[in-house]
């Protein structure tokens, strides 16, 4: 019997495949195509305390083997989420992880505290300290070790759910940032968010995106993300969730072997909404073929 389950510190998942924040909505948009309970978890779109309008269009541009996005955390804000969205989601039996972003430490703390007691459809909190597409907050917290560990500490105090910190790749040394998050009390690290990029429209002679800068996701960035997971695995004790350009099983295996105990699928769901389920089946076959009773046997093996 193959067990696809994976354990990330205090968090247990049925499968190691999650939907990445910002790419799968609350899952509902895809509900008619699959049984959402077959997903390891869905990390829902980034939430903020107050409603966010998001960035002006265009927000998306395709790039070689990838895309830039500059959504700008469009979301209805905590109150509307709690009163309008969550009750509906409660009934679905889906495993949801809330991705939260604040302008200030206080906002993160409020978001975490409120969401931890909001209902058991939420199984973890992911701190987004890595959004490249907003003016304040977001990535600011994710690039300075001391700022980050102080933030994580404060959130840790009110957070009764497993606490994930999502790291930005736009730093000189991710291991330093990762250790800061660990020191602050993170249970799990998730890496990576998108790389900052720009496309210039050579006809209008201006940056193409409304926000000028966007975040690169997709296969183009995969080797960069694998490296970051590999190096972070060697630097912290807490488990990792890997992501960045995963489309095929081999891609996911690279992240597992680099040290990720679970992976998230982001933009691949745009071209194939069934990516996560396909990979789930393929992983099962792979483990069977390799005579491995569970995923554990390959997590981090690339470190030799």
């Amino acid at each position: 019997m193959i067990d696809l389950g994976t354990r990330l510190g205090p968090l247990k998942l049925k499968t190691p495949f999650m939907a990445a924040s910002g790419t799968f909505g609350f899952g509902e948009e895809f509900a008619s195509l699959m049984d959402l309970r077959d997903l390891g978890a869905i990390v829902i779109n980034g939430l903020t305390l107050m409603p966010r309008k998001g960035n002006p269009p265009p927000r998306i541009v395709e790039t070689p083997a990838g895309m830039l996005n500059a959504i700008g955390l469009q979301n209805p804000g905590l109150d509307v989420f709690l009163s309008r969205e969550l009750p509906r989601l409660q009934k679905s039996q889906v495993k949801l992880i809330a991705n939260i972003a604040g302008d200030t430490e206080e906002e993160y703390v409020i978001l975490a505290r409120e969401l931890c007691t909001a209902g058991d459809v939420l199984i973890a909190i992911e701190l987004n300290v890595s959004c490249p597409n907003v003016q304040r907050g977001g990535i600011f917290f994710g690039t300075t070790p001391s700022t980050l560990s102080s933030l994580v500490e404060k959130v840790r105090r009110v957070c009764t759910l497993p606490l994930i910190v999502k790291l930005t790749p736009n730093v000189t040394d991710i291991t330093e940032i990762a250790r800061a998050a660990e020191d602050g009390g993170a249970d799990i690290l998730s890496l990576v968010n998108t790389f900052q990029g720009m496309v210039i429209d050579t006809v209008s002679r201006r940056p193409f995106l409304g926000n000028k800068i966007g975040g690169l996701s997709g296969p183009a960035m995969r080797p960069l993300a694998v490296r970051l997971v590999y190096e972070t695995y060697a630097s912290v004790e807490i488990p990792l969730i890997g992501m960045g350009g995963i489309e095929a099983l081999d891609d996911a295996l690279q992240f597992f072997m680099a040290g990720a105990a679970a992976v998230a699928i982001g933009s691949a769901s745009f071209s194939d909404p069934l990516t996560i389920l396909r990979l789930t089946g393929e992983l099962k076959n792979y483990l069977q073929r390799m005579n491995l009773p569970s995923l554990e046997g390959i997590i981090g093996v690339a470190h030799g």
Binding site: G22, P57, G66, I71, Q74, S269, P273
Partner: protein
Amino acid sequence: MLLCKAKVLRVEKLAIDCFSLLLEEKNLATGSLPGHFLHIRVGEGPAPFLRRPFSIAGTSPGEGFLQIIFRLRGAGTRILSRACPGDMLDCLGPLGNGFRPRENCKISVLLGGGVGVAPLLFLARRLKEVRERVVLYYGVSRGLEKIPVQNFLPPGVEINLATEDGSGGFAGLVTDLHRSHLQRGLRPEEVFACGPRPMMQRVAGMYRDKKVDMQFSFEERMACGVGACHGCPIEIKVGDSDTVFKRVCRDGPVFNPYEVVW
């Protein structure tokens, strides 16, 4: 919404850089309404990375056929133009909210700019069944780009062509042609439009004071196509001074132009 493989039956060149693609997929053909679109995966590998959205230009539910009409723009449409009969195309659809014609109404006007006419052909066919007059305005910049819209329409739909290069029909902007008809007494009760933004904006401007039901179909870059990613915003007025970004893919692509921030 289905994720399915549609069989390519025919690829046809309609005009310079303009093609129609006839597909067979029973459920898509049955479920699609005018204004809906398909999100199509072109190519196999990682490039092109994203799906491409195309309006549905017509269906034959009985036979399980449906059609799109597209213009060559970049890599994705180039690949599509080379599809062969028998190829299976990965389609997500039907997506979006279609046009919602009025309950009781006699005269419908449709304005299509360039390949924006595609969803209007589908709509005109359906409307003709229930309206006294269906008046289609179709504008292209160069006559070479003109697709033979009459082949896609039942008899009785009034076709008014405008070419900017003066190579056929009215010489000038399709909006000017329409304006002249309004001045001569045309009184539509509902107006549908799809085309370049400046054209649609001109149409909206023409009706600023009128109590005509207007529904325009908009375009925006799309990633998911189903409402999950907020990648395809259109700015919509709320109340007197506020605005929000709605999703073209899920809240549209058809919007009331009075509510749109141009």
